[in-house]
Point group: C2
Chain length 331, copies 2
C-alpha cells in the first residue's frame, strides 16, 4: 500500500536525523527514586525490553504497562478521593433535596456526624455514589468533577487532590512512555471520574483508562444525542475484574503491572503468566511521616495476600519510605 511504502522509505531516510535527536541517556529520568533494588529493577527491565540485541526485546506495540490508580498513582487516605467527591457533592446537591436533612445516610453527611459517617455501611456508600453519580449526562457529571477538583482541598495536606499524585510514579510513567510503552490505568475507580484529571496529571489519554463503569443510556434530548448516567453498575474493575478489563479493552497481556493492594493481585498474576521479561511491582505504604503506613489490616488498600505473593514470586515491593526520595511534588 502506497502510504505504508512512503513511510517505510521515510523511516530509512530519516533514521540518522532522528537518532541524533534521541534523548540524552546520561540524564536521570527518575530523580525522585533513590538508588536501590526497586529502581535498579525498573531500569534493568526497561533495558531488557528495549535493547533490540537482547532475546528479551519486546516490540513497541507490545510494551503495555498497567497501573492501579488509588494508592498506586495517587493517595487513597483517609478515604478514596472519589468518595470525598461524592460526600462533598451531597452538600452541593442538598438544596434540591430537602428530604435528606432527616434521611440517612445523607443526614449524617450534611450534619458532618463523624460517628455516623464512620459507621457507613457498604449499602450506604452505594446509595451515596448512586445519587451523586447518576441522573445526569456524562458531560454534566464531568463538569461537576472538574469544579470539585478545582476547589476541594485534601484534609491532611491542604492541597488540591490532584497534587497527591506520587512524584516518583509520574516520573516512571514518563520514563516508560519515553521508552515506547503505552501506559494504562486499570482502576476500581469510576472511569468517568478519572478521565477528568488523568490526562493533565498523568499524561494518560482517555482511551488508556480502564475503570468501573455505571450503566449508560443513549437518548435523543431536544434533537441532540446524549449519554445519561444510570443507577447501577455494569462493570467493576477490581480483583478478577482487572484482568477481564485488560482483556476486553487492551486485548493484549501487559508486560508491566503496578498495584498496591490485594485488589491488584489478579492483574499482577495475569501479567506474570505471560512470556518474556516482566516487571511486577507493589507500592508498599510504609511511610506514615510523609504519607501513610498500612498494609495487611487496612480497610482501604489492604495488602495481605499480595505481600505474600510478592515474596514468594520475587515481585518488586517498592518501599515508599526508602525507595522514594520525594513522595509528592509539593514537598
Amino acid at each position: 500500500m502506497f502510504v505504508r511504502l512512503t513511510q517505510q522509505r521515510l523511516t530509512t531516510v530519516c533514521a540518522l536525523a532522528l537518532a541524533a535527536c534521541a534523548p540524552a541517556t546520561e540524564s536521570d529520568p527518575l530523580p525522585s527514586w533513590n538508588d536501590g533494588a526497586a529502581r535498579t529493577r525498573i531500569v534493568e527491565f526497561v533495558r531488557q525490553v528495549t535493547d533490540s540485541t537482547l532475546a528479551t526485546f519486546v516490540p513497541a506495540p507490545e510494551r503495555i504497562a498497567v497501573f492501579d490508580n488509588d494508592g498506586t498513582l495517587w493517595a487513597e487516605q483517609p478515604i478514596y478521593f472519589q468518595l470525598a467527591f461524592a460526600l462533598d457533592r451531597v452538600h452541593t446537591m442538598a438544596p434540591e433535596h430537602p428530604e435528606w436533612s432527616t434521611q440517612m445516610p445523607f443526614s449524617a453527611i450534611l450534619g458532618d456526624d463523624r460517628e455516623a459517617l464512620a459507621a457507613l455501611t457498604e449499602h450506604d456508600i452505594v446509595e451515596i455514589v448512586t445519587v451523586t453519580h447518576s441522573g445526569m449526562t456524562v458531560d454534566e457529571f464531568q463538569t461537576a468533577v472538574a469544579d470539585w477538583l478545582a476547589t476541594a482541598r485534601h484534609p491532611r495536606f491542604d492541597q488540591p487532590y490532584t497534587a497527591l499524585a506520587y512524584q516518583p510514579m509520574l516520573e516512571l510513567l514518563d520514563y516508560l512512555r519515553a521508552n515506547g510503552f503505552k501506559t494504562f490505568i486499570v482502576s476500581g475507580g469510576g472511569i468517568d471520574f478519572m478521565r477528568v484529571f488523568a490526562e493533565d496529571v498523568y499524561g494518560i489519554t482517555s482511551e488508556q483508562i480502564i475503570g468501573s463503569m455505571g450503566k449508560l443510556l443513549f437518548e435523543i434530548r431536544d434533537g441532540e444525542p446524549v449519554l445519561v448516567k444510570q443507577p447501577g453498575i455494569d462493570f467493576i474493575d477490581d480483583k478478577e475484574g482487572k484482568p477481564i478489563g485488560i482483556a476486553r479493552i487492551i486485548g493484549r497481556r501487559p508486560i508491566a503491572a503496578f498495584g498496591n493492594s490485594d485488589g491488584d493481585l489478579a492483574m499482577l498474576q495475569y501479567t506474570a503468566a505471560g512470556p518474556g521479561a516482566q516487571l511486577l511491582a507493589y507500592i508498599h505504604h510504609d511511610d506514615a511521616d510523609r504519607e501513610w503506613a498500612y498494609d495487611r489490616e487496612s480497610h482501604i488498600g489492604r495488602l495481605d495476600r499480595g505481600l505474600d505473593a510478592a515474596a514468594e514470586r520475587g515481585w518488586t515491593v517498592v518501599s515508599m519510605k526508602s525507595d522514594w526520595r520525594r513522595v509528592f511534588g509539593f514537598e
Copy 2:
C-alpha cells in the same frame, strides 16, 4: 517534570529535521478513490482539522475516527464472516458432539441443508454462536479463528475472507493515521474475533477495537491464570450500544464516523452532535457487479433510516460503484 522538558527541547531542536522528513504532499494517498464529492469531502475535512492556521484545527489527540467493520471495512455478504466462522466451526467440533447429527440447528449445518439453514431463527444463531464462542480460553478461541482465516475461502470470490477488506478504506485508514488520527473499529462483531486479523489487515491495534463482548471468567488453572469465554453476552456494540461503547472505551467524542447500516446511525448522530469540523459518512452498497447492491430492504446491513438521515443532514454517502476505482485489493 524532567522528561517533559527534555522532550520539549528536543521538539524545538529537531523541528527542522523532521519537517524535511514529512511525506511528500504531491503523492496521492487515496489512489482507489475516484475524483468526486466523497473524495473531495474527505480531503477537505482532513485539511480543515490539520491546518493549524484554520479555526477548524483539531489537536492530534482529539482526532478520533471510528469505523464500523462489517460492510464498512470489509464485506458482509452472503453472511457475516463471523457467522461463516461459526458454521465452519460446528463442522470442526462435530466429532466431539455426536448428538449434533440429529439435533437442530446443528444437524442442518452438518448436513449442509440449505433450506433449513435459510430458515435459521435468531435463537438458532445465538445457540450456534454460544457453542462455538464459549467454553474455551480467549487464547484458544483466537487460535481457532486464526486457523480458520488461514484456510477458509469466501464462496463467491474464492479468496481468504481478509482479502475482502475494501482497498479504498485501507487507504483511508492509512491516510487518516498519517494525518495524526487514531482509527478505531466500533463494530457489532465480537471483539475477540476481530482482534485476530485487524492489526494485520487494517493496521488497527487491539486497544483500538471496540466490539460486542461475551462474558469472561478469570480462573486459575494449574496455577496459571486464564480468561475463559462464558456463554452469555455482556455488551452488544450495535445501534445505541455504539455511542455507549465509544463513551466507555474511547471517552472522547469522535470527529469522523463511517458506517454502512442503520446499526451505525446512533454512532453517526453522536459524532455529529460534537462541535467543529466533522466527517460523517455512509458506505452505500450499490455495486452488484463488483460487490453487492443492497440497502433499505436488506436483512444484512439494512440502510434505511440512515439514508434518510444522510440526505437530511448532508452527510457523505459513498457510492461503491462510482466513488471507488477499485473495491478489493485482489481485483
